[in-house]
Symmetry: C2
Subunit: 494 residues, 2 copies
């Protein structure tokens, strides 16, 4: 196998610089606010959250699908490469231009107006919402919360809807609500062809079997097949009751039996089952001193689980409370043969989620962070962790494992931290070789995925290239020719 | 618009008869049991449930994916057209050969063995099951029920898994569990190319975002892009508690408010919300005299709803029973302004489902049946019904509407019955013109789908041809060339 990290490639190369004439043409399509040029204006569009900066030839900010179609048609005809950019909050480098200064950014940030009447249309009968792709998740959920609903993708970041669909984000309540794919009822998409063809799959039907479900090929494919401009999304009723517990499993082997026992007893009321390593929790407490440590004497267990139950309806008098339910269920599990539960604490859900949500930020301060977003069959995830705890130190001593994960759906944020003064960091090949070693174990030994919920971007393109069968790459290239033959997107799937 | 019913077409035409030499070659690949010839053996494979019979040149019954691959490669090379056939329980004519006698049937009925150890592998930790595409839904669910699980697609028919995926069936509990697409974690598929390429998407991961989710293009596309040979499916825990009520809405406008009120109060415990017209119920009672009529004095209301709540866990002592929950919720709704609820009866779920399940068979005896499987945004479905009740008699007098539907997901079994001695039936254009008129209203006036849950087959090919934009047909044709350029499938999406 060649070195996947170094082998990254993209088809989105523009032969020459964008000319003054071309910029003038784009300005004519987009108007003054719609086209940004000049270093200061471009900066925020050139820098991705975690993966360094590129250089944009321009930023195009169409106001609606029709304008975006004209931009795409023009750029395809002129051979200009466009990088679609949504909230630019992703972690894999799929939304920023490269360093050549020849690529334009196609920003969705003005695609918030659905029509003259407003930016978001709620259809309460259909339990769905219609939005522009540029609407932020937080804005959508504020709008919905006032009306008793939620778009149930629970993320730390605040992306825009178009990017969420193009990366098929998951999040902390996947166990109950599924991913973006399962909550997308429709999209409008513009292709990178000479016409900037608009495809409208916006019927918003929950049930429709009339041939290929075309929207599926634009979900999770990082914008290389087309640019999403509008969407119809499933919404859920807001949770009205919730309870949470921190569970300490006897050992790692007890984690899956605990998940199964809770699923058996709580069913669809179980809305999260999140695993947290002692190392990750320690990072969070170090970084956020105000966080309350819920463990007796402040002593962190080797592993803890945040289990949440919730209901989307108001509690009725005759109904058992969720706290009582959790208490009874945990008391029952406490008596199990083999004692899978070493300890358990029922507490305020907000407090427990504060700990859970502090993990991402906390681990960033543990040293030089090398993050992996991987997934497994649920029963394999803890086996992978155990193997890593044993094998990693042999190959990479003094690398801390600060992981946490969505055990309920098999997703693992496997974070490695290296002391900032570690001399190995001076060696440019050290981190790539560490990344290759881990991903090789994930994919080859544990049949896992090297990208659970962030899709493909520049930072994992090499792994895509290394682990995707040739036949699949050929299909992907064919699909690209079929849909968007123009230069679109930061990655290459074919 | 041309006449969609008459305009049906297929790309799966074999220029000449299958030769003795070709049959001998196929027999060498498949062995004695694997290739059927001769009229008697072929009969059950030539006849589709509702749409007449064709003539098969042969029936190929491979035992495993590898054998199926060799059959496909051979037939592609020889230019022989194959019609994939699963349980042959579909209603749209996608699984039987045409009348030319030049097409072979590729049956999945021996693809039940997953490996030497058994036909079904349950992964309890992953809450998933791995099956051969030839396994029947009833066999899968018997196997799962013994272990406390279920594949939650609730159908009247008993299809095989491969066909369920190729048609993306829905069913009566879609509201809670989704369709087959949402419950398919992986498939193995064989393409109709010169190599009979096998594509393996069987990792069974719940979260995996590494490029195109290729399995999606084989779901619901009637087998034209490839033949599914194995699958990994999500399973759910079996319901342990359930309660049901028959609701009589004040009128048709009260139906959606009732659905919303129940969703608001029962959340994920609401597992069905099925609508039944008086005409459809009358047909069921006529046809099945032993059915108990639950309405006072046996007088059927104009419309009734079967609402079911269920839980996948054993009732605990402190927990309110579902009967009590339903009673309290209905008492609350009873007091609503506008009185949306005219009457309600809580009863034994089995008894209520007996009525619901008797509708399909009942309406078949109401006369010459012209069925439509259509869907709408949930809020539009009852508007469509109201418009039909008003307009249909003007254009087609003395046609009975005997509909029932999955109101919770917008699906409607819109059945029309014509007296068997109606002289109009002698006119060959009568039923096609009736079908065209209804579908035109569904699609053009109510933005609905002409195929909610049965995919595309010969009987609705004409509507596909009429209502699919040229651009989409071009994409579908391109996808066909890309995946399975050989002659496969009874329909033409390109």
């Amino acid at each position: 196998m060649s070195d996947p990290v170094v082998a990254a490639s993209s088809s989105c190369v523009t032969a020459s610089s964008v000319t003054e004439r071309q910029l003038a043409d784009l300005q004519e399509i987009l108007g003054d606010k719609g086209l940004l040029q000049g270093t200061a204006d471009l900066a925020t569009y050139e820098t991705c959250v975690r993966y360094g900066a590129g250089t944009a030839a321009f930023v195009a900010r169409p106001q609606n699908s029709a304008e975006l179609s004209r931009v795409l048609a023009y750029c395809v005809t002129q051979g200009i490469c466009l990088i679609p950019q949504s909230g630019n909050s992703g972690l894999v480098g799929a939304s920023t231009p490269d360093g050549t200064g020849t690529q334009g950014v196609l920003s969705l940030d003005r695609l918030t107006l659905r029509d003259q009447n407003g930016k978001i249309e709620l259809d309460e009968d259909n339990r769905s919402v219609t939005v522009g792709a540029g609407v932020r998740l937080s804005d959508l959920n504020s709008f919905l919360a006032e009306r008793g609903y939620s778009f149930p993708i629970d993320l730390g970041a605040d992306p825009r809807i178009g990017g969420m669909i193009a990366t098929n984000t998951g999040g902390a309540r996947f166990l109950r609500y599924g991913d973006v794919r399962q909550n997308t009822l429709g999209i409008k998409v513009v292709l990178a062809d000479a016409q900037g063809t608009e495809l409208d799959f916006m019927s918003g039907l929950r049930k429709d079997n009339t041939g290929v479900d075309w929207k599926q090929i634009f979900i999770g494919t990082s914008g290389v097949y087309g640019v999403i401009t509008e969407a119809v999304l499933n919404v859920e009723r807001l949770p009205k009751q919730s309870a949470a517990a921190l569970l300490v499993p006897r050992d790692e082997e007890a984690v899956l039996p605990l998940l199964r026992a809770l699923e058996e007893r709580c069913g669809s009321q179980l809305t999260a089952f999140e695993g947290m390593s002692a190392e990750a929790m320690a990072c969070a407490f170090d970084h956020v001193p105000s966080l309350r440590n819920p463990f007796p004497g402040g002593e962190l267990p080797g592993y803890a689980i945040l289990a949440e139950v919730s209901r989307s309806w108001d509690k009725r008098d005759a109904e058992e409370s969720l706290d009582d339910l959790l208490e009874a269920v945990l008391a029952e599990i406490w008596e199990f043969d083999g004692e899978p539960l070493a300890n358990a604490f029922i507490g305020r859900p907000e407090e427990m989620w504060s700990l859970r949500h502090a993990l991402s930020e906390g681990v960033k301060h543990a040293g030089k962070l090398v993050p992996f977003d991987v997934s497994f069959r649920r029963g394999v995830l803890m086996e992978f962790r155990a193997a890593m705890a044993q094998d990693l130190p042999k190959h990479f001593p003094e690398v801390r494992i600060c992981d946490f994960g969505h055990i309920g759906d098999g997703g693992l944020h496997f974070n490695l931290a290296i002391a900032k003064d570690d001399p190995r960091l001076a060696d440019e090949s050290f981190i790539p070789s560490l990344r290759n070693w881990v991903v090789t174990r994930v994919v080859e030994d544990f049949n896992g995925s090297f990208s659970a919920e962030h899709a493909i971007g520049r930072s994992n393109q090499g792994f895509y290239d290394a682990y995707t069968p040739e036949k699949i790459k050929n299909l992907a290239a064919g699909l690209k020719d079929l849909t968007s033959p123009g230069k679109l997107g930061a990655v290459k799937l074919g």
